[in-house]
Symmetry: C2
Subunit: 307 residues, 2 copies
């Protein structure tokens, strides 16, 4: 395992997974995925990122090699006896929400992240994973002081670990979640009301991902609505939300400062990275693009959004 020469500005905890995915465009087995994998690959277009996670002894070398294509620090990717976490799911015609067929936690059960950073990264993303694990990472990193902590979650944790989830939420600066999760978490159908309620629970910023309908951000008396980049070729939505968060946090960390203005720009970057991510299965499309492709699409998007 290599340690990059420059300290990481950003760390993520989340899943590293082997997925089985069916979309209207095909079936793929053993797709490299997981929230931390998508996030770190997306973020590393902008900055170096440390991936905190766990895989089993079965984790293929070629997947590790994929992560090493980018400045991703794997010092905190534990390898333990057992099988890597895997998810099997499918998307129907509308591509809007994943249906889960199978979840095998495998090595995630009993995962105990132990962090040994020489320089603690100032930007942290707690990707979708058990909130107790999110808390353990925060416990080890939040002293003396972090610049910006954001988190994600999913319906499963909202249902089964609500209390633990709310405790983590109280400690973060930003909550990133999709529209369905925001409604489920708050019981509010109106997304503005849902975002306001989440802000009352702790996070200063609430960033709601709406898939093909874009992103809504609520801050302190500020809101921002960003449409999605219009795509006619969505092949696999898996990892879109994590890629969005990765682009957003990667850009923010590369700037080093946080403000509502910076978050708006970061969300636009995240949205562009996500728009590439869904154009092929797994990480395939992101592997074929460069930072300049992201900039080019953002320029076009900016032109299209001006009125």
């Amino acid at each position: 395992m290599k340690t990059p020469r420059s300290p990481n500005s950003l760390a993520v905890i989340g899943t590293v997974a082997i997925d089985n995915i069916k979309t209207p465009f095909g079936v793929r087995e053993k797709v490299f995925g997981g929230s931390a994998a998508y996030f770190s690959y997306a973020a590393s277009f902008f900055t170096s990122v440390a991936l905190v996670g766990v895989v089993g002894k079965d984790f293929p070398d070629e997947y590790r090699a994929v992560l090493k294509e980018h400045p991703i620090d794997l010092s905190h990717l534990q390898v333990v006896e057992g099988k890597t976490f895997s998810w099997k799911g499918f998307y129907e015609h509308d591509m809007n929400s994943a249906k889960t067929l199978e979840t095998h936690l495998n090595v995630l059960t009993g995962f105990d992240p132990v962090l040994k950073f020489e320089n603690k990264p100032p930007f942290i993303f707690l990707a979708n994973i058990d909130p107790h694990l999110q808390a353990k990472v925060l416990d080890q990193l939040e002293k003396p002081r972090l610049k910006f902590v954001a988190m994600d979650t999913m319906n499963y944790w909202i249902d089964s670990q609500r209390d633990a989830l709310l405790k983590v939420m109280a400690r973060v600066d930003a909550m990133v979640l999709n529209d369905g999760e925001a409604r489920q978490l708050t019981g509010e159908a109106n997304l503005i009301k849902a975002a306001r309620k989440i802000r009352e629970w702790g996070p200063q910023y609430v960033i709601i991902k709406k898939g093909e309908h874009g992103v809504l951000i609520l801050g302190d008396n500020l809101f921002f609505a960003l449409p999605a980049y219009p795509l006619d070729g969505v092949f696999d939505p898996t990892g879109a939300g994590d890629s969005f968060a990765g682009g957003l946090m990667g850009y923010l960390a590369s700037q080093g400062e946080v403000s509502f203005e910076a978050i708006k720009k970061a969300a636009a970057y995240g949205s562009m990275v996500a728009s590439f991510a869904v154009e092929d299965f797994g990480l395939e499309k992101l592997r074929r693009i460069k930072r300049s492709d992201i900039e080019e699409r953002l320029d076009l998007f900016r032109k299209l959004s001006v009125f």
Copy 2:
């Protein structure tokens, strides 16, 4: 019936209705509505508009007085024996789609629009109504030459009058419809693909209304995505789409010229008018605002959308 001194730049054919509406915020009976009523009230913030429609002898004087608050020409609003068209419906918690309980066509059955304009209006909107009636209006107005014709429709006509609908579509410049209707009409789940297909059938511009998610516009190799103005107080979505179309067409007609750039700006105006319309039942909120309120909200919206 009064004839405005200056010729109308815009005409609309559609329904004038008495609605019974239930939303999570209350129940209202005998609400003044209908596609042409919402459209013309919204459009007349920007330009004079001629309303082509029919009502029964029961149509209340106070509803007529509402339309007369704005520069709306009622010379082509026929009054015939019988009862005014009425619709009864409700919205559930999510406010995203209306559920119809009752539709009483009443005087709409047998309605035969006969148009006698001294100066034919160059901008026409064929609001949601039987496509045969939309065609009758076009027959009388399209010669010698119109500047811009747009149309709307609904699931009912897509199901029951598809052929007649496609014939009208082939004659218009722009199709305005909501996301569900675009998917239903084309069989395409992806809205960009759906819009492309509709363009192949005739309309140069396809304007897809997505409610709380904003608007998507496809033109000749051009697209434009506009988020909705974020609202936490949606009381009654009835007429939102017609108010949007009214604002859009009213602004376009007031400018006199059509281009993709003009349509983008017009869509932003339409979106602001719609955002007011849903803040109270029926036309109530639109009756309480002025053009300056629309401009003010648009300024704020523009600031919020810049990144």
